[in-house]
Symmetry: D2
Subunit: 407 residues, 4 copies
């Protein structure tokens, strides 16, 4: 079901597990080797979303392995699936990336942009996008950050306050500007949609948000909501509605992929845990006294991810009860389809003329950005209702069916 248009999806971190899974999955889908299971907006026809078959992938990475090799290393897909898409993925190589070990210590690849300063880096990113568009005969492009988590950044610095201040800081090679910001800047300053699927600070910078609005760039983020936090924000509204008081929530995660290794850097871990922690109180309407979130690198898990949650609730007559949840999931399998749907929805937003933060895409994120800095909605059912409304499917629900797509 490919149409006449082609949308370029430029991924920051193209060689990573999430990106390679997205690329491989779309190729399997085009070939009829998989169906649309796991793709939340499959089966939603007539809403203007571009077909899965019309997505064209490219992007940057610090590791220059071709995508077939990278995908094999990540071991997310089966040998049979990888074999089927290797001829295509083997021809795809990430473009050299912008990097700064000050922001992300444990991920050090060698394929970096040769650029004299930050402005030069930005220009390099823009050139990559121009070249991508031309070579692939693309109608439009979106940029999505799926790279490893960077350390937290202080957003209230004066150089982040206005587009002008930011540009001056850029020219002065300000050490507070992270690689993720460079990609965001390169996109939003040219009206290109940008999504931040990581916990890093990127388009959250006030200066960049203002630029996005000025230049007609739809923006969404941040930190993809996949495993444990997804379940948390599914369950919490129900506990609230039944008046079951959450006395404590202990969450532990084990994961063994490159993301997990990055989290061994305490600063990156802080970013991650931070975006995980806020959601509960917001949904429940009170502060959960003992909400503990642990993330642990654990090699044997590989790209699989496992969450164990213990929830202590207090019910009628003050009686305690316990709920335990063990989610044996696959990080990239949950994340990749969200990246695909973000590309399609941001592209729709762009064509509709929307710009700035698209709040209705909040269901995809652990820490949803809001238009005017308000408190985000974290409840999954409510987020879903808003997404359906934005898509013009008010009152209806996802079909639950699957469709086969051929390129």
């Amino acid at each position: 079901m490919a149409g006449t248009e082609r949308l370029g999806v430029a991924l920051v971190g193209l060689g990573g597990a999430v990106a390679t899974t997205a690329v491989a999955g779309m190729e399997l889908l085009k070939r009829g080797l998989t169906d649309t299971k796991g793709l939340p907006l499959a089966g939603m026809h007539g809403l203007g979303l571009i077909d899965y078959g019309d997505l064209v992938f490219g992007g940057w990475d610090l590791y220059d392995d071709d995508l077939a090799k990278a995908a094999r290393n990540h071991s997310v897909l089966s040998d049979t699936q990888l074999a089927a898409v290797s001829p295509i993925l083997g021809k795809m190589k990430p473009w050299p990336a912008s990097s700064n070990t000050d922001f992300c210590k444990n991920v050090v690849g060698s394929s970096t942009k040769r650029a004299k300063g930050l402005r030069d880096q930005v220009n390099g990113i823009r050139d990559d996008l121009e070249h991508f568009k031309k070579e692939q005969r693309l109608n439009r492009v979106v940029v999505i950050n799926v790279a490893s988590t960077e350390r937290p950044v202080n957003l209230s610095l004066p150089q982040f306050a206005t587009p002008e201040a930011f540009e001056a800081a850029l020219d002065a090679n300000d050490p507070n500007i992270s690689p993720a910001m460079l990609y965001a800047y390169a996109a939003v300053s040219k009206g290109i949609p940008f999504a931040n699927f990581t916990p890093s600070v990127a388009a959250d910078v006030p200066a960049l948000l203002e630029l996005a609005r000025r230049n007609g760039s739809p923006v969404a983020g941040k930190d993809g909501k996949t495993g444990q936090t997804l379940l948390k924000t599914v369950l919490a509204p129900a506990l609230r509605d039944r008046a079951l008081y959450v006395d404590g929530w202990y969450s532990t995660n084990i994961l063994g992929n490159r993301d997990g290794e990055a989290l061994n850097d305490p600063a990156s871990k802080a970013s991650k845990i931070d975006t995980k922690g806020a959601v509960l109180d917001s949904i429940l309407g009170y502060k959960v006294q003992d909400h503990i979130v642990q993330i642990q690198y654990y090699r044997p898990r590989g790209d699989n991810k496992e969450a164990w949650d213990n929830i202590d609730v207090i019910g009628f007559c003050g009686q305690p009860m316990q709920l335990k949840i063990n989610f044996l999931c696959k990080d990239s399998i949950l994340a990749a389809p969200l990246v695909v749907e973000l590309a399609r929805t941001l592209d729709l937003a762009k064509r509709r003329g929307e710009s700035g933060v698209i709040e209705e895409l909040g269901c995809f994120f652990k820490a949803p950005m809001t238009r005017h800095g308000g408190t985000p909605e974290h409840s999954v059912p409510e987020q879903q209702r808003r997404l359906m409304g934005w898509l013009g499917k008010e009152g209806t629900q996802a079909t639950g069916g699957t469709e086969r797509v051929r390129g």
Copy 2:
């Protein structure tokens, strides 16, 4: 916070764990010895719901223990809590009940109505309600069935088709008429609100539904949605919305109370499992090939109830994942507040002039009754939205707070 009105709540199965917990809990609340945790509609002021402090309990049971003794046997509340309400509960004794071991084998108490036939039984039930109202100076009464589960009944028998046929069958002592139907008939034929918190067939009989509409009796049911099914219908909408295909769902339950013993009768168990099974397919929009529900009597669990669920889902690229849920809950602690809220909402419906099935109360039930026999909504978020709409709280959410109530 007691007002000037008094609502009588007549419970079928007053000596059971759910009923005694509801009664004791309301007494603790009136005395300020517990708060409103676990009561879903606490904090919803100004909607016309009667205050918790204005509820007066009575009801029938096959066991004639006073409620203090019964509550102690059920071991749901703490010794301290029981001691605080024993003076009151010790004075409350269930009225003799209607019984028929053909419908519920494993629960055999001796406190039964002396009545020559079914019509006589009905008259006895009505007399009990009249006497209750008078003695307790009640403004209104509701009847709620929380007795043990009866075996399934064929609803398409001709004697169930019309009020006239049913009344004829009643006079002929038709063996297909179960005790639960007698209570339902006694209520709806007099315009008294009736809720069926059990899986038994009661007001589902077409003849009784017609009577309820004719006589202005609001009706709700059936089978209280508390532990495992509550979680199931919270999770399934999210799995659907993320397009995570449910390949199998294995649910096992262990419980050790009188309800559990009743379930050792295979016929009663069939009723129960039946109402548990339908919910998934309805929410997901496809038939789950392997949905298995087991309920097992297990003495050591006592009134506590434990559910273990294994959910196999298939995501992007056909990759399988697993979710396991272990809910260590307390059956009566989850059920009792729903009984209380049903009394309050049915009473509100009655005062508003509504009659027949009140579909908007579907969130309280595993097998929600529908107005015209349509497919019920099982998704908890959607049920909650409808309840809030019916209460006039459209767009708002439960507060999550707790209030203290004094009688």
Copy 3:
């Protein structure tokens, strides 16, 4: 590490998941494509056990698929592993089997022996063994039953009492003689070692045990101890030694392979649950009041097997505690190496001149056979100690190391 001798391992149920995994695993080991992980007696040199590389497999099955095809259907090993051994396994075909749907309803293959009666069947089995030995230039043979579970049989029938009575019954085509007994008889009457890895009644028949003793045939059984029961008999001795009283033990199993389907026949299931139930009381020294074991066929699990156990224990001052165990295991991966070790140890027993039940092999079984009908030892640590003693490794422990074996 192949020596100069060759041991034939004739498996009843050669096309099943356990057997094909054993055969494929040994081929992988010979080729250096896997190591000895999972093989309990690897690394025990100098004790007289035949080398893994000297085992030669053959056997019977009701399905005549070659082993490459059968192994692929069972999906136990990876595609890569299957590809590596397919050339060999593709040349191996099970011999037609003895069958009787009265004993095992849900497994109906078409590759059955053409024989006029039971005696003829036995002769056919013997001919198969003779032919196997000759063709493969084998020094010795052992027979191991890994077929699907048959329904229970009354062992106290007079025709089972003595070898003479059994032989008369055989000639009379007695309907109480099951296929498993035919294989056992064919083996023990010729002094061939026989192990029963299934819960079926086979060499348990007193007549057959007597024959085994007379003819110098070592015997072991029954019902391989792999997943849940293994863990149960590991934990129970520790609970006993800490005086933690087991108030209840709820065990549920889900499995989706051919064995699981066989268990959908209630009679076969009864055999299985029976051998699972006895172990606890025996170890603990008192009757566990609530010990419940459920086995459920659940398609999505495939050859994988999952057990969930809830154990209620009472400790000091009567305080209750709970232990929950969730074992995500692979039935054939746990069972196949035990079959291999049984072949090696029974062969050792034969060469040592031992006959009748070899009690010291009890650690491999859920329902260990005993020499004189005494109570079996179920405690894993004690069983292990006895096995090590029998092997001449008193006081030492398994090495935990792995060795690589080449054919």
Copy 4:
């Protein structure tokens, strides 16, 4: 079943949850209000162990609450149980304790010994023991440390090498001498049995071990093996014996008592995790690459303790499997009876004339001390076998029964 002798049990940390549970439990037992469930050596008659009814408790604590108040605060026993023993426990007050916040930061009570230096502290401890013996007409005394965990100490310091060096350091008020060492010194230098139930360094000091041998003091330690580590050392031998390779073991613990708070001091936590970590490799015979142990203070759990373990094992043909264990246990309920049995066995050792480390008591400890600094045995079945041998019960097993004891 009280005899004519009386054994004093002086506990360091008498006001803690473990100690008060031990004291209350023994009182309940004497009164026939509980049985011997949870006491591992109950039912072992004729071995010379002193009767439970002949134990007399005393000890030190930094908090001077009487034991009735302390036990109530710990909420380990039921209200009914506490009420029954309150008259006795209310009369028991801990003696002022030795303290040093440098060794244990988060536990700061005010009931400390007024002593000018370390030597003075030791004298005070000895005076307490003398007074205890006299006042209670005791035949003998044992000292057991159940206080909060102290930070690690470097045992190879010269002042710890010989009794003489230690005594000199004592007189010089050496800051490396911790309070736990003072208690150990006071006991072993007088030939009094000493057990260290905590992970703190106490009698491990070479100087103190030498003193114990010289003075005829039996010693045992350290760190009581109760919940997660108990299970770990029960399971690991079985995994080893089945050659299931442990690829990773992730252990997380949540607990909410005073011990847990002490663990919020990273130094104390290090001690604890250290003694937990070593056991696996020792049993398995190889280094587990990913063995992670987390301990987390989590208020809602109170004195209850919960462990969740995920074990990744690799079996035959390199196939991975997973085992998950969730232990909802009660720390003090598991620990208190071990303290009681340690008192009885150390007393037996003393009467037998044994001194120095009693290795056969290793089953009670996470980090068993060894006579000559050898590698300890961690396997529970092997430890149990050794204990039974030492007690003269070779070849027999714990009875599993319970006995009632009256004072």
